[in-house]
Symmetry: D3
Subunit: 271 residues, 6 copies
Amino acid sequence: MFFHTKELQYNAKPSNPDPVYAKKLQEILGGQFGEMTVMMQYLFQGWNCRGDEKYKDMIMDIGTEEIAHVEMIATMIAQLLDGAPVREQEEAAKDPAIGAVLGGMNPQHAIVSGLGATPTDSVGYPWNSRYTIASGNLLADFRANLNAESQGRLQVVRLYESTTDPGVRDMLSFLIARDTMHQNQWMAAIEELEQNQKAIVPSTFPQTLEKQEVSYSFMNFSNGEESSKGRWASGKSMDGISNFEYVANPKAMGQIPKLKPSPAYIHGSVM
Amino acid sequence: MFFHTKELQYNAKPSNPDPVYAKKLQEILGGQFGEMTVMMQYLFQGWNCRGDEKYKDMIMDIGTEEIAHVEMIATMIAQLLDGAPVREQEEAAKDPAIGAVLGGMNPQHAIVSGLGATPTDSVGYPWNSRYTIASGNLLADFRANLNAESQGRLQVVRLYESTTDPGVRDMLSFLIARDTMHQNQWMAAIEELEQNQKAIVPSTFPQTLEKQEVSYSFMNFSNGEESSKGRWASGKSMDGISNFEYVANPKAMGQIPKLKPSPAYIHGSVM
Amino acid sequence: MFFHTKELQYNAKPSNPDPVYAKKLQEILGGQFGEMTVMMQYLFQGWNCRGDEKYKDMIMDIGTEEIAHVEMIATMIAQLLDGAPVREQEEAAKDPAIGAVLGGMNPQHAIVSGLGATPTDSVGYPWNSRYTIASGNLLADFRANLNAESQGRLQVVRLYESTTDPGVRDMLSFLIARDTMHQNQWMAAIEELEQNQKAIVPSTFPQTLEKQEVSYSFMNFSNGEESSKGRWASGKSMDGISNFEYVANPKAMGQIPKLKPSPAYIHGSVM
Amino acid sequence: MFFHTKELQYNAKPSNPDPVYAKKLQEILGGQFGEMTVMMQYLFQGWNCRGDEKYKDMIMDIGTEEIAHVEMIATMIAQLLDGAPVREQEEAAKDPAIGAVLGGMNPQHAIVSGLGATPTDSVGYPWNSRYTIASGNLLADFRANLNAESQGRLQVVRLYESTTDPGVRDMLSFLIARDTMHQNQWMAAIEELEQNQKAIVPSTFPQTLEKQEVSYSFMNFSNGEESSKGRWASGKSMDGISNFEYVANPKAMGQIPKLKPSPAYIHGSVM
Amino acid sequence: MFFHTKELQYNAKPSNPDPVYAKKLQEILGGQFGEMTVMMQYLFQGWNCRGDEKYKDMIMDIGTEEIAHVEMIATMIAQLLDGAPVREQEEAAKDPAIGAVLGGMNPQHAIVSGLGATPTDSVGYPWNSRYTIASGNLLADFRANLNAESQGRLQVVRLYESTTDPGVRDMLSFLIARDTMHQNQWMAAIEELEQNQKAIVPSTFPQTLEKQEVSYSFMNFSNGEESSKGRWASGKSMDGISNFEYVANPKAMGQIPKLKPSPAYIHGSVM
Amino acid sequence: MFFHTKELQYNAKPSNPDPVYAKKLQEILGGQFGEMTVMMQYLFQGWNCRGDEKYKDMIMDIGTEEIAHVEMIATMIAQLLDGAPVREQEEAAKDPAIGAVLGGMNPQHAIVSGLGATPTDSVGYPWNSRYTIASGNLLADFRANLNAESQGRLQVVRLYESTTDPGVRDMLSFLIARDTMHQNQWMAAIEELEQNQKAIVPSTFPQTLEKQEVSYSFMNFSNGEESSKGRWASGKSMDGISNFEYVANPKAMGQIPKLKPSPAYIHGSVM
Ligand SMILES: [Ca+2]
Ligand SMILES: [Ca+2]
Ligand SMILES: [Ca+2]
Ligand SMILES: [Ca+2]
Ligand SMILES: [Ca+2]
Ligand SMILES: [Ca+2]
């Protein structure tokens, strides 16, 4: 069960309206790696958690924090839209600078949401839950989480670089700092889990059942062998079990497929 | 530019038809973490790569391999559908075992694809490119890749567990082995990159610009303090720069938001 | 079965081309609450109608009218795109006003539809049928319809405000008037239905089977009690059956959930 | 900012596992009118609210409650999946009853989520944010909310009818009761708002600007005049301003559209 | 503008209820090549038509007919769902044949639409407008239409094969016949257009501007030269302008791409 | 199995950066009829092919070529984005020409992909696999392919018309030429197949089972008889079997549908 407190987790006060930037900022609200994604991803991981209470509580802690991040950005966007000149059609026709702003806005910010934030990304594409994962395997999911926080911080930094508004930058500096923590947090949780199992997910599947002759082979399918110079092409494998092997000319090991004609009721090809 | 060779990378020969399993197997073909996802993700990362040729070549190597994995699974599914009793309506009505098979099939395997594989997941949802990421930051993307291979191997293992068909299991044992390699590969590439930069993505953004007072704080937003026992709540931070701090009672640091009424032409609320 | 007559239901004649406005106008053609939505929603409600012929006929009357509204707006958009300067690249580079127009257009209006309307909204997102509902319960659906006409009229009014083209405004003044009627119509139909049943949908489910101790309680989950001042927090409930109660400090009534570990074949978390 | 408490708002304890029912129950979690929809709809309406604090607080109260409903259903689904026989392939082939269960499950409950709830509906379609609306006009949005609670309660009742599990029914009886309250709540809020404005949304647009000759006309576009017998076809209009008129033979009032040929660079039709 | 007549274009009367078949039949209602697709595709082609009135009228004729086909199938599905045993949970548990039916149904047919048709395909995926095309070039679009009618008739035939219900087959025999006509119709229209222009769309682009050395070359990118035996590999080209050429070993004609590092504010890769 | 060679199939070298054009060019990369569509469509048709090896090899040849086209366009877009002024916020505010560029860019090209191509269309909508078809009937699918190449060439030509950059036009001139070949190729394959079967897909369904009285009738559902002047309205039918008939006043042949009330557990309408 949840409770809401009116104060934002951190300030969300733009210094000036900027409807074009409001459109861009939607990316970290409702985009693939926006706050809605981590919020829903963590909450579902928490609710589905079948492990140690320590993990479940930790996931619920951060999932609950992320709702507050969605709130902050939504609030910021609504304020950036205050004063958006969506109506002054005639003036815009005369003043190309206003025209550029109108052309750069998300029209739904005026027509659909009435100057409010929308649960969409920076091109207006709606958020959907296939952005999230809760697999029932914490090591797998913590890697998903580390990725989400890495992509997320990268996007927030790029948005920081594309505004000079002090109020917006102040809020983003908070989100960037939290993403610093969250990347650290998932790295810590991953390290802890890896101490109890092999690094390869899932570690409970017996490797004797996999086709072990190709379990540590790097295969060169793009001509040129620059890839042989990487850490992945020689030396001890990262799971400590074997050594990397570089296969310069990988061979096909399978059949040439030949499918049977389909039965009559399928009405397949006549040739 | 690409060339195709007729032989499959590895055998894809089911021992028996099984249309219900064909439906399930679609998950690792066209699902969120299926082979289409890693194929397109790696190819776009390679094409967009602005870095050292060593990385670009490596990414293109694996991206090209993944097309072959899509090919193997598609071929397997088409064969699993051979012999699917989609027509024998009357018999099915009398024989509940056949009815169960018919009910468990994906109807599009008969109606739409004529007993062929479809570029969709196990519930028939079409693959879409928002499953992929190519961010222009290799460390961020390699974390995405490690996650994809972790979720992917987990799903293949679960599919291995839910069939006893020797031919299907043989193919899956190959894919599981390649996912072992690919998890190792991305871990190796991540380690190599992390030697040249801080672990936090993006490492080029000056931390002085972030709100550093919250950069290493774990905040307890779900009642109960079980989360304080994890590695993320105390000790050296994973980036080696600071120490984790546990905030048992996190406080709001922001304003109570109060939006202005919308302008008249928005026709907002009357109260 | 349907018949088409060539004349539009009302004039759709813009006074001037305006490709940027054409993009915006798409919202009420193919958006969440555009004419395609009400058209398909009403038609499916009519086709699925299991009630009195009076209702079925009425729904088919309005569903059929809505096809004509889609037609009018599509026709208007095609004309607004006539004369769109999509080609004059070099001139645009020199003239920022033309550049603003090009930047503000939907590129698909040139590349994909060849200056025709598209079945999408103002950000180019395709119309999809999850925008509609036909539940088999007319009171529920008439509320959906009243909502659709309310959101729809609001959007048309906002579009009216953002153009000064007399021809466009003339067409919109017709659509706004029809939405006035359609809001009235659904309110009338709702009132008629509510005279034969309780206001709560579905009225046929015995309230003795619901957890009646919370059936009329307003629960305060956001700190501060401003919400206690509303009509919903005290006085007779709207269904006339009970009284509203304000719960200032709602309590959890459920268990602390604890899920079992997953079976081995799921390969869940190792801790 | 939000806080989480570990106890559920109400009990979510199934008496028996039932993976087929788990699939169905997804509808009210991640479906068009499921709990995720009302949760996100109310939260965005609250964050974007530009009106009286009384309304904003009320919306945040209910939005916060809805997160708890998502939590309860997710928890219930995870428990219904405990014991799902996803592996026993061979036994299933022999026992049609098990086969029917396997065929009726959502395969992603095993392969993707590892026996956890997914943020999708009962056919596995992912939740997306176009299910929600926050228009910046409270009267419009409260009608959306009343509709959502009407459709939602109808769906929960149908799910109640299709199980006999006492634990599941107990939880559903709570949700049905809350939907009773929430329908009442939105009706109360609507009534309060309508006292300050006309019933037609948006009430601030001058009716003199709409094409008033068709503002109160019911038009008969489906042959047969059964629809003339409804409340919508005669008598005082619901907004109290005019009288309904029945137009038995509606006439086209617009032009026969004739579009200009497209410019050469569009490469339109040759005829 | 449109008018509706109550009678269906052809009979839609199933001999027996069959909820599993109702699910399958959705494919030709709301699937990629279902009746909703051709209906919306033709209507938009008609509304956007910038050509000879003969074509516009013809397209509107068939577009209007297709609405009637949607109506017939929706009506059929609603009747197939009459008598669906969605509630008899306990009996189903005992009788595997009933269980198979329940497992094979679309659960939304009970929970969401209350035994009505839904605007979705056979896996419950919602119809969306990206299934359609109206390009502003009639020859291009008539090829789209011929394809749609070919895929559509194929799917209807497969559905005919998977039922023995005389009433369903009667309706399908009508739809199959209409698809026979509609394939003929688009072939006729294509032939007519091709008499006035070259067969290659768009015919108005000067071929001197294309890279003519590869305009008639078949390139062998999959090892093995079986493809050299087809009509496409030698002889006069179909547009009558040149001759097909078989390139057994196609060569790359482009550069090895090398992208510049991204600017600092993008925070790209560090290596 | 596939191999990659580093050289592009043809040059992809823009003469100048142009981020607005980069956004437009996405249409033929990740749009409905972009290169990703034909690539995936052909690959799946090839993998599912149950016919003569000649066809399978041919389809794999072209499918493999299309991957190279995706590669060329992705490479071009990444270079067009080099030098995009996404950061210079302050300067842009002063210079409307820069503002127009910023407003016309796809913001995800900066925020999400870091100046790389994205697998989306020109409005940022992600590519999805419902754009493709592989039906198991080659004649049906070759018509789909001819359509795709017709729409595709039309779009490339329109993009050629909207740039003057010599490097971009050079690459497009190659793609246009290949589309010339590919239209020719599919026409040739269609002709070859039609020599072995009737032109109507599927040709194996006995026409005696269809409702033959409407198999060759053109029905006039839009008032006015301009459509009677077309080739489709009189003369020999295209399949050579019958003659076209023009039905000026098509009659309904079906029942007036009347659905039964739903069972009690559906909680349908009360009236
Ligand atoms: Ca290589
Ligand atoms: Ca805690
Ligand atoms: Ca409160
Ligand atoms: Ca009527
Ligand atoms: Ca070949
Ligand atoms: Ca006509």
